[in-house]
């Protein structure tokens, strides 16, 4: 039994979650500050991967980073490529998971009581300090929920991943692409094992989200 897909899926999801965490909260913070005209357009563009089919996202990623493109060729000259490597898996998963973190963070930031940061400013604290030590902790539950959701989405990403990195056992195979290949080659036993494993991981993730929401409700109710 080859356990590589589990290891690969988890590391791709973890790296993607970290990237998406920073990209998401910074985007949410700065988009809120844009003038009204720009805000709407930028918001739509950043949310697009959420509503586009993953294959469409995969197509655009290939258009941008494929080996026949300027960016692809530039990176390849340094020996780095997104196509057919697990780094491409991180790119694909981050792209589709980003809107989840971004929207959740925006929601949390919009509910943030701005008088708290104003109070920090009157105390002479820097904006960076206020962001990391006042705003983020205050929006903690929303942000953590965003992290958990984007982790789950990154873990379950299939369409864009398959198009970008193919299926190489031991190198680019993820749980989702492995399930498809095992099913396609009538390897029912292995397909079922991976399906069950993914189910267990997803249930654990959702339980975590529920626990967090429960604690949030109890705290605000108390």
């Amino acid at each position: 039994m080859d356990w590589y897909p589990l290891y690969n899926s988890l590391r791709i999801a973890l790296f993607s979650s970290v990237i998406v965490f920073f990209a998401g909260i910074f985007s949410a913070y700065y988009v809120a500050r844009l003038p009204r005209s720009a805000k709407g357009v930028v918001d739509v563009v950043l949310t697009l991967p959420l509503v586009l089919p993953p294959t469409v996202c995969g197509y655009f990623l290939l258009l941008a980073f494929g080996l026949n493109t300027p960016i692809g060729r530039f990176l390849d000259s340094y020996g780095f490529r997104f196509v057919m490597t697990w780094y491409g898996g991180i790119l694909a998963a981050s792209t589709v998971a980003f809107p989840l973190m971004y929207r959740t963070a925006r929601g949390a930031f919009e509910a943030f009581d701005v008088t708290l940061s104003e109070a920090g400013q009157t105390l002479g604290l820097s904006n960076a300090y206020i962001f990391w030590h006042v705003r983020i902790p205050s929006c903690r539950e929303g942000i953590v929920a965003g992290i958990v959701l984007s982790f789950a989405r990154a873990l379950g990403e299939y369409g864009a991943t398959s198009m970008l990195i193919g299926y190489t056992p031991g190198r680019t195979a993820t749980i989702s692409t492995t399930v498809y290949q095992m099913w396609r080659t009538n390897n029912e036993r292995e397909a079922f094992i991976w399906v069950m494993m993914n189910l267990v991981i997803s249930m654990v993730v959702l339980l975590a989200v529920n626990l967090l929401e429960g604690r949030n409700r109890r705290r605000s109710a108390g």
Partner: protein, 265 residues
């Protein structure tokens, strides 16, 4: 506000019901003059061109295609998909359907012959010149090769080629990427995502790819033959038979031979 929302939702639901009903009715009238053909992905370009020719001569008929790997199509047929004519890229899938009595054996015929080739992306970045060289590179782990998976005929022919060279597929797994049909392999080669791919001569031709070597009969364990047969449970047996006769004819032959197919008849 809530009432307006409820009314809008009900209206949308009613519209979709009406549209669905209309679609179903349209389909049942269309079924009278429709032929559903399941064909190997490698026939996409040629059969699409032939559809144009055939429908011009037979305006009351519409040919509907489902192109995919023969393994996928076989599975769909076994699971009850509606199909009138099946053209496979290997005998294996047709035999499987014959064993289950799903085809009309009297109509089964070996229609086309293809060749399995080694294709490279533009510029041939790894400078591969033959299957012999590929075998060496695979053993040394220095190449990324795209192939069909074991459910795809071209993947099955690839496995025969590996066996011919005494290569253990499990040992070289990290140098392979598996695709679910021959067109996916072709696209991976075209986009330079891989160093080379094993596809049919016809796919390489249609995609404008450079072919560096062609596999012999010995390497693929026999000729690459495309059998065709009318499905026993198909609703349009007569029209399917007529279309199959057309595929055996001179006009269809010209189209097939223009991309590199040979006639096996």
């Amino acid at each position: 506000m809530r009432r307006i929302l409820a009314l809008v939702l009900i209206a949308l639901f009613a519209c979709s019901c009406i549209l669905a009903q209309a679609a179903v009715e349209q389909q049942s009238t269309a079924q009278k003059s429709e032929i559903v053909v399941f064909a190997a992905a490698s026939m996409t370009e040629t059969l699409t061109a032939i559809k144009g020719l055939y429908e011009k001569e037979n305006p009351d008929v519409e040919v509907v295609y489902n192109f995919d790997s023969s393994g996928t199509l076989k599975t769909q047929i076994e699971q009850g998909a509606e199909c009138d004519l099946f053209i496979s890229a290997a005998q294996k899938q047709m035999n499987a359907l014959a064993d289950k009595n799903l085809i009309d054996r009297s109509t089964r015929v070996d229609l086309l012959e293809n060749r399995t080739t080694l294709a490279v992306p533009k510029g041939n970045p790894k400078g591969i010149r033959s299957f012999d060289e590929l075998a060496e590179l695979l053993r040394e782990g220095k190449v990324l090769l795209a192939i069909g998976n074991s459910d795809v005929p071209v993947g099955q022919y690839t496995q025969k080629i590996f066996a011919y060279y005494g290569i253990d597929e499990n040992a070289i797994k990290s140098n392979l990427t598996y695709a679910s049909n021959v067109k996916e392999v072709t696209t991976q080669v075209s986009s330079s995502s891989v160093d080379c791919g094993i596809i049919y001569a016809t796919d390489a031709f249609s995609a404008g790819l450079e072919v560096v070597d062609t596999a012999t009969k010995e390497m693929t364990g026999g000729r690459v033959i495309y059998p065709a047969a009318v499905l026993a449970a198909g609703r349009n047996g007569d029209r399917a038979r007529a279309f199959l006769e057309y595929l055996k004819g001179a006009e269809a032959r010209k189209v097939f031979e223009s991309v590199g197919f040979a006639y096996a008849l």
